[in-house]
């Protein structure tokens, strides 16, 4: 079951451009391909495979839970293993572990590093400036937001012109201003350049290394990897599209993924279908203001066609918690008669008996309303406004 905060994360993504978040091991594999040094490692999903991987890597290894949530270390999801036996034991404990509602399905086994200093490096998309922002600090390994708050001079930041790119002098400026130790400077300059190149080559929205370490042998190595890719650019990156990323355990969310429906589960009982992210969010708000609790966010898209409406309703109707459906459509590209026909098809196919409140406005609204009032079964009611529709749905959910 996805956590509530997870849902919020994806809801924000929906409204800001969807993104693909990678696991640490996937990020490290991409780093390695882009010339950023990472410890050697293997990804495994059984204790036995963890032992075999530890044997191949040799020496002390780290067993790291692969989940997309912070606080793995505190939860016991990162363990040092001096022998293959220990690696197997740790993997057995960590696999299946629940870390903040994320189940661990795999562990990354990597060679342990001798850390002299921990730094922080990232390239991110700065939405406010609409430019890439490179950040570097000599105070890594810890909560970097805390560093930014309490000691902002320890964080060197630099916006990059996306048309002229990130040059070596930018990397040098950052390294000097962040106060990187002399012996590590060349390594950090190199990594910043590779990191920026990877950021642009992979259409990334975030590449974060915390900690970036300076080792006893004098190397600079990425000990962690947080990588986020712009979904809109995945057509250019078929290899990334094929990556196995976080799997949802929720049946409705899985169904929505398969059908290509933009859906986030919430914890109420009023199922919601709308078109356009802003209108759907507004619908959730209006349902809450009417005293109800939305069961989900579902955006059927700006150009909803009949079969998309059918797919969306299939997802909603499969949720046993949903007591009533609220369909709120304002047609622009979407035509209300198509939505009405989709609704009839879906009801016919899915044999739904729960109450359904429909509000249709916009392109071909009269035709859409006529189709529903003439042909829909008695459990479907049409309301004239968004507010009245939300109030009616909430009353029905409460059994009034």
């Amino acid at each position: 079951m996805a956590s509530r905060s997870d849902g919020a994360h994806r809801l924000v993504n929906i409204t800001q451009g969807r993104r693909l978040d990678l696991f640490e091991y996937q990020g490290k594999q991409l780093f390695a391909r882009h010339g950023i040094p990472v410890p050697s490692g293997e990804i495994v999903d059984t204790p036995e495979a963890a032992r075999a991987a530890a044997e191949r890597i040799g020496g002390t290894v780290v067993v790291k839970a692969q989940v997309q949530v912070g606080g793995r270390g505190k939860a016991g999801g990162i363990q040092l293993a001096k022998t293959p036996d220990e690696a197997e034991v740790h993997a057995r404990n960590i696999l299946g572990m629940n870390i903040k509602d994320h189940i661990v399905h795999s562990v990354w086994i990597e060679a342990a590093s001798e850390i002299v200093k921990e730094y922080y490096a990232s390239v991110t998309f700065d939405r406010s400036e609409k430019k890439p922002l490179v950040m570097l600090s000599a105070e890594g390994g810890m909560d970097i937001e805390e560093v930014a708050r309490t000691n902002p001079s320890a964080l060197a930041t630099l916006h990059v012109d996306p048309l002229t790119g990130f040059q070596a002098h930018h990397a040098r400026w950052l390294v000097f201003h962040a106060g990187i130790d002399e012996g590590a400077r060349a390594g950090v300059v190199n990594i910043l350049q590779q990191l920026y190149a990877a950021f642009t080559d992979l259409d990334s929205m975030l590449m974060e290394i915390n900690p970036l370490i300076w080792t006893a042998s004098g190397d600079v190595v990425a000990l962690d990897a947080k990588v986020t890719i712009d979904n809109n650019a995945l057509y250019r990156h078929p290899d990334l599209l094929a990556l196995q990323t976080s799997v949802t355990d929720d049946p409705q969310e899985r169904m929505a993924q398969e059908k290509g429906v933009t859906y986030v589960k919430l914890d109420g009982d009023v199922g919601i279908l709308g078109n356009g992210a802003g209108l759907v969010m507004s619908t959730l708000d209006v349902v809450a203001l009417a005293g109800g609790r939305p069961a989900n966010f579902l955006d059927a898209g700006g150009g909803s066609k009949a079969d998309e409406v059918v797919a969306a309703l299939e997802v909603l109707l499969s949720d046993p918690k949903v007591k009533v459906l609220l369909i709120n459509i304002f047609g622009g590209i979407t035509r209300c008669d198509e939505v009405a026909n989709g609704l009839l098809t879906a009801l016919d196919k899915l044999n739904a008996t729960l109450p359904i409140v429909v509000r249709l406005d916009g392109t071909n609204e009269d035709e859409g309303r006529r189709i529903i009032s003439e042909q829909a079964p008695a459990n479907v009611v049409v309301e004239p406004t968004m507010l009245s529709a939300a109030q009616r749905a909430v009353e029905l959910a409460k059994g009034v």
């Binding site: 991110t124 909560d143 919430l266 406005d361």
Partner: protein, 291 residues
Amino acid sequence: MSILVDKNTKLVVQGITGREGAFHATRNKAYGTNVVAGVTPGKAGQDVEGIPVFNTVRDAVEETGANTAMVFVPPRFATDALYEAIESGVELIICITEGIPAHDMMGVYTHLRRGNQTLIGPNCPGIISPGEASVGIMPTQVFNPGRVGLVSRSGTLTYQISKELALLGIGQSSVVGIGGDPVVGSSFIDIVSRFDADPDTDLIVMVGEIGGNEEEKAAEFIAAHVTTPVVSYIAGFQAPPGKQMGHAGAIITGSSGTAQGKKEALEAKGVRVGTNPTEVAQLAQEALAAL
């Protein structure tokens, strides 16, 4: 009066022979917009409902004097279409296309800001100045001529609020959908300042939603520079507090990005914020009555 599109708009539609491009170009023309040309490479000499088609935007501009371009090109080709529109010299570009990669748009945005052309969108419903011109995909029947300037990040929510305004007998000078993508050509601040300079806009309605910090920045700008009254609506109060992957994002915005945070930022600067579309229309009515 109005902003951005009006009776003087001469529109060229890029991607006019596509299904959506043809449908909406024809509708825009039927509304009274002066649609002077379309562009689809290789289809010069054809026409779409009487609108002549050219191979390139430059040809279209040279032949017809088009001053505004609308981009209806699929996302893989839209970046090129945007650069082509910019080079043609049109004053205003409106990009409807959804799904353009953010890195492409960072480049387009940076290039554009070096000149003085205006881009609205991408991933936006367009602009309508009721009674004068409609450029985009908005359902024109919910808009009426009037003196409210409406600017929004969301398409369908724009229609909803216009409908609520219409129920109270309130029309618009212009309605601008700036688009919901991470990189859009024009911000709330850009459009609010245009409305503020428009003598026929008496009130500005700004419709935002969760994410980013554009509403917070607009609140500061309104307090410092805008004399026209502003009311606002923010969608997404029911979105539970979010969690971001990594920490870089939170460091740069210094803003929570929540609906509540945006509402408070606006109210702190004297902008009233409605909790639902019906209420924001009522706030607009009250503000107009107080003028």
